[in-house]
């Protein structure tokens, strides 16, 4: 347990810094960066529940993100209802969608599972683009800004604290998965399904459950994203770029660890929002690619893995 302390401390420090930022600076751009780091981190943590802890590597999580984004946006734009209601509807739909895809692709492993999830997100993208009467098609849906918590028309500071609560919640759920009975069962499923079965673990049910929980979290974050950004269109919210982003944050930060998704998001999101991108459009993608190659080649367990090895080395050096 004590071996894990450093990365728990890092997470506490990271969330504390985020919480203190608005007290020190009021710069909208900086607050926006912190919000996005936390939000992409939370989304990646949601992906990590299925992809990291249960080993169900999906490249179609944009499906759930898009469901959540559209549910909230349409609920407030089309029906003038609270986006919170849209968030709840989105979560319900994503639970159904997650259960469906989890059940249908239950026997598929590795790349085959990933391909089936890509296909699922693409199907939803086409539906959202073509169902013009309901979704306004590829024109997208602008989300009306109505000030207030119930209508999610918030200022930057309020958004930051709301997203911080969500991020801490996602982090806490991952910590639970590392230490609980169900977390151990998921680890068994991830490592070897046959052996897990021999130990009395209902592997198929556990896999579906992991995907459903992950889908619900992704959908909720998608709803919040739609309200924060204020515009939803099918080619972005259902895009494979987003799905890949959820996965890559976790892979770069450390797949199957609680801190990994947030560390990955800190690195990637700040690269994206930093001045580097403003002065040289597209360089962010180049850096992104180089970082990814370096991580996959030299540290497949991600930044938390590097930190863990450094910590162990230091402990030995001091012993």
């Amino acid at each position: 347990m004590s071996r894990l302390a450093p990365d728990r401390w890092a997470a506490v420090a990271m969330f504390a810094v985020a919480a203190l930022t608005p007290l020190v600076v009021r710069d909208a751009f900086l607050l926006d960066s912190v919000i996005l780091i936390l939000l992409w981190g939370a989304l990646s943590a949601a992906w990590n529940v299925a992809g990291g802890y249960a080993g169900q590597v999906s490249l179609g999580h944009a499906a759930f993100f898009g469901i959540g984004a559209y549910a909230a946006a349409l609920m407030s734009a089309r029906y003038a209802q609270s986006p919170w209601l849209g968030l709840a509807v989105g979560v319900a739909l994503s639970v159904v969608a997650g259960a469906l895809i989890g059940y249908l692709s239950n026997r598929l492993k590795g790349p085959y599972f990933a391909l089936s999830t890509i296909a699922f997100a693409e199907v939803l993208k086409i539906v959202a683009s073509r169902w013009r009467g309901f979704t306004s098609g590829s024109e997208g849906v602008p989300v009306p800004y109505r000030p207030g918590f119930w209508t999610l028309g918030l200022g930057h500071v309020a958004w930051l604290y709301l997203i911080l609560v969500v991020a801490v919640g996602c982090y806490a759920l991952q910590v639970y998965l590392e230490r609980s009975r169900v977390g151990y069962q998921l680890a068994g499923v991830r490592e070897d399904e046959d052996a897990a079965e021999a130990l009395g673990i209902a592997t198929r049910r556990r896999k579906v459950q992991a995907i459903v929980v992950s889908a619900a979290m992704t959908s909720a974050c998608g709803s919040l994203w739609a309200q924060y950004v204020g515009f939803v269109d099918p080619s972005h919210v259902f895009s494979i770029d987003l799905s890949v982003r959820f996965a890559l944050n976790s892979i770069i930060g450390g797949i199957g660890t609680a801190l990994g998704p947030f560390l990955g998001s800190l690195l990637i999101t700040s690269l994206e929002t930093s001045g580097v991108e403003a002065s040289f459009t597209g360089i962010y993608l180049i850096i992104y690619g180089v970082v990814l190659i370096l991580i996959v080649r030299f540290a497949p367990d991600g930044l938390t893995g590097i930190a863990g090895r450094f910590w162990a080395w230091r402990a030995r050096a001091h012993a």
Binding site: Y184, A187, G188, D194, E197, A198, L199, G200
Partner: protein, 222 residues
């Protein structure tokens, strides 16, 4: 405790297990021997729920478990180890065992499971299965590939497990160990049960010698 009634398992045109019947009573230590491809592991897979037999029934403590998924059978108290050991390689040894329940292997507990030498991985395989507190355990070649010293250790482990009241079926190629360990031995050949008896009876059985042992098995070697 465990009853197989004329169990048959086919893969396409190949009949891997043909009408095998078996009766294992509580407290038994039954050995299964046979040449490669005789259907030993397939039989385990049928008993533990990994394969559904085309014909016949499997009963565990009077209950028909034919076609139940492996995890349901494991929860009834019957579990197995794998011939090709399946450690949860990226997890520590302690975590491997934790996934079943709680026991301890102090000295190597925090090593990554895939870093263990084969003898310890075989032991881990047994420890992990035991962590589920099974009343009935299927051991698939836990002695294969071990040196004589390691062999003594694992034979001792199997004996202790048996002494704790666990009923066992053991698949083994190491005949010497099997002869000392098992109370009763079943011989499979081409998917059929061709002999059943005490180790002495098996060692002198003409069909067994023809099919497998080659020469009359010398018990003195055992």
């Amino acid at each position: 405790m465990l009853t197989l009634e004329a169990v048959t398992k086919r893969f396409g045109g190949l009949t891997a297990v043909r009408a095998v019947s078996l009766e294992v009573r509580a407290g038994d230590l039954l050995g299964i021997i046979g040449p490669n491809g005789a259907g030993k592991t397939t039989l385990f897979n049928v008993i533990a729920g990994y394969y559904r037999p085309e014909e016949g029934r499997v009963r565990f403590e009077g209950r028909d478990v034919t076609g139940l998924p492996p995890h349901a059978i494991a929860r009834l108290g019957l579990t197995r180890t794998f011939q090709i050991v399946k450690p949860f390689g990226n997890l520590s040894v302690a975590d491997n065992v934790m996934i079943g329940a709680l026991t301890r292997l102090p000295r190597v507990a925090h090593a990554r499971a895939r870093a263990l030498p084969i003898a310890l991985r075989k032991r881990l395989e047994v420890a992990r299965a035991l962590a589920t507190r099974p009343r009935f355990l299927l051991l698939d070649e836990v002695m294969a590939g071990l040196n004589p010293t390691e062999l003594v250790g694992i034979v001792d482990l199997v004996r202790r497990v048996h002494a704790e009241g666990v009923t066992l079926i053991v698949i083994e190629h190491v005949m010497a160990a099997m002869m000392r360990l098992a109370q009763r031995i079943v011989m499979l050949h081409h998917g059929e049960k061709i002999a059943e008896g005490t180790p002495q009876e098996i060692a002198h059985d003409r069909r067994v010698i023809d099919a497998y042992l080659g020469d009359e098995f010398n018990l003195a070697e055992a």
